[in-house]
Amino acid sequence: MSSETQKILTTDGIPLEVSLKKAERRNKIKAFLLVAPLLLFLIITYVFPIGDMLMRSVDDKMVTEMLPKTFKAMEKWDGKELPEEEVFEAFYLDFRQLVDEKREGKLSTQLNYTKNGFKSIIKKLRRKSKNFEEGNYKEQIMAVHKRWADVEYWKAIKRRAPAYTSQKYLKGMDMFKNENGEIVSVSEDRRIHRILWLRTLEIAFFVTLFCFLMAYPIAHLLATLPMKYSNLLMICVLLPFWTSLLVRTASWMILLQQQGVVNDFFVGIGLVADDARPEMMYNKTGTYVAMTQILLPFMVLPLYSVMKTISPSLMRAGKSLGGTPIVAFWKVYFPLTIPGIGAGCLLCFILAIGYYITPALVGGASGTLISNQIAFHMKSTLDWSFASAMGLMLLAGVLAIYWVYNKLVGIDNIKLG
């Protein structure tokens, strides 16, 4: 139909479509130029780092590059019995190269991640290998330490052959690939990450819940009070936003510590004995209290903006039609605030799940979150690829929550302001 219709021409004989495109091109370029700085900024600061994190988290080239000849020779090895002389020779050559470049330390660290016990035998091998004679490297290497004659260690080396690995992700879930390539969980007493993930979800859930319970009445008050009072109250809600996060967390430390203000008060009014002051920080309680206070505005603001649009006559209508105040609230007012509740909860939950500073300062051992573990690997163990993997798992989790929310409530139902 459309192909049969005649092309419409302008008075100059140019096809209308061409003319239209030409006329709008300038505007399109202008619009793009306005967006360009932000786009560039986002690509540099957001897309690129996340891509880099993704690469880093699966990257396992280090060992692959350090032992090129070994892995080439290992291709033919079936991985059951000890490898042939050929592999040993290749390994010796690679190793000598590394020693010359003073990189054998890195190799030992990397291999130790795969299997414990590499560190000492590599040190020993470095010392002994200086005096190796040409030929029959298998015997010479095996003579250095009995572990070099253990096939399990050679299997461990071979597991590092691929340039990419899912090992870091498995580690984040307290799982690993065993010698036979099966994915299994680590022994029960070493499952620290699962506990952390569950605790992160638990804390984020309860912080969101507490925020919701506290923010709903505040937001309602804000939306219904006369302007002069609601402005003042709004400033009170926003005040924490203008105070440094560190200062706020530090003030919670002053308040909550065992010799702190709250405890002194409790002792003063005789609620608790002086020698039985409750621990209110360096545990979950501290994290709950401080994070709820810090995330509260993120719940209040979306709720407020939604409640502001609900006409007071709706509640009146509900009452005049015979609903008790509770029925009118529950059947009329509450359903209309769901977009705000959704937005506030989503915002709080996502912020809470990745929270770092506050739990690090007031959380102690039992109140820290997965983000603290990530920071630990970034700063202390320097296992950046593991930190990246956990960061990406966190990101995936957030996206999953977003997806579930979209399925349940519908993302177009959200109202942030």
């Binding site: 006409s311 006559s313 009146r316 009452k319 005049s320 039609l321 015979g322 008790t324 009329v332």
Partner: protein
Amino acid sequence: MNKEFVKFDKVDKSYDGKILVVKDLQLDIEEGEFVTMLGPSGSGKTTCLMMLAGFETPTHGEIYLDGKAISSIPPHKRGIGMVFQNYALFPHMTVYENLAFPLRVRKIPKDEADKKIDKALSMVSLQGFAQRMPGQLSGGQQQRVAVARSLVFDPQLVLMDEPLGALDKNLRESMQYEIKHIHESIGVTVVYVTHDQSEALTMSNRIAVFNDGKVQQLSSPDELYEKPVNSFVAEFIGENNTFAGEVSDISGGKCKVKLANAEILANPISVKGKGEKTTVSLRPERALINPSDKMDNVHNGKIEEVIYHGDHTRVRINLLGNSEFILKVPNSSSNLDIKLGNEIKIGWNSEDARALDPK
């Protein structure tokens, strides 16, 4: 019929403790009546309605509904239907659910509720709209749903707070008749608030004109228009020509009012004696050009403006020092001599010229 179905007894209302919004209100509404509270904005009419509905409490005095004092009864127990200014339909419920709300909270069984909803929807001719959301309806349809919802639980009293304010002119007029007919067919008592006088005149049995927190006049539409008791009502309802002057003589149901440079005869309504200041009010249609009948007021005036209005012509005349004197002349052949600048004779009966309080 209960003459005092709704009774405001010496009701005062103040929001801030400084200004009285409603002053010593005394108002009786008969059962089955359609009473309109009419007045400019800020005159206290909506406050009265809200006190009746229970959303505001009287600062002083008592309101009775069917003989019972209701000040201590919360709104949801008063059983009063209400139509709000912006309809206040529940946006997350279908039309059916909106209408079912008052029935559900009263625990009326579903089949009975369905019958009532069907009846209410057919009353406002919206059958087949039950499953729509309010957002999918036009303004007029939403208005009808609001009316149906306020009636579906068979209240004895329905309050309407400027329900037609958001509609365009044509729709508003047809809705006026529709509401009037619904009122006539089911006989419910209606208290209606508006600032639109034509709406009030069209629909009401009686109109209470509010100004400054007080009822200025409570009477039927025709009486309100023909016999305003004070100059505010005369000014507020319909068009009005006024002469300000002083009573120079009063006798035999007539009075002489001395203007700046003339004297007219008028009907003394709120003047008692000589020397009182007064405003004489005369409806435009009561004055005639070249009167053939004997009229006791005949004066010459000069035509200053002629405005064609289709069915009639508005003529502005400078008469007895009042250059805003308006006449409405029907467009028939005998009146074609009206030309700008012409000098014409204008006459009226002193009975129609009401000497009211000075402005």
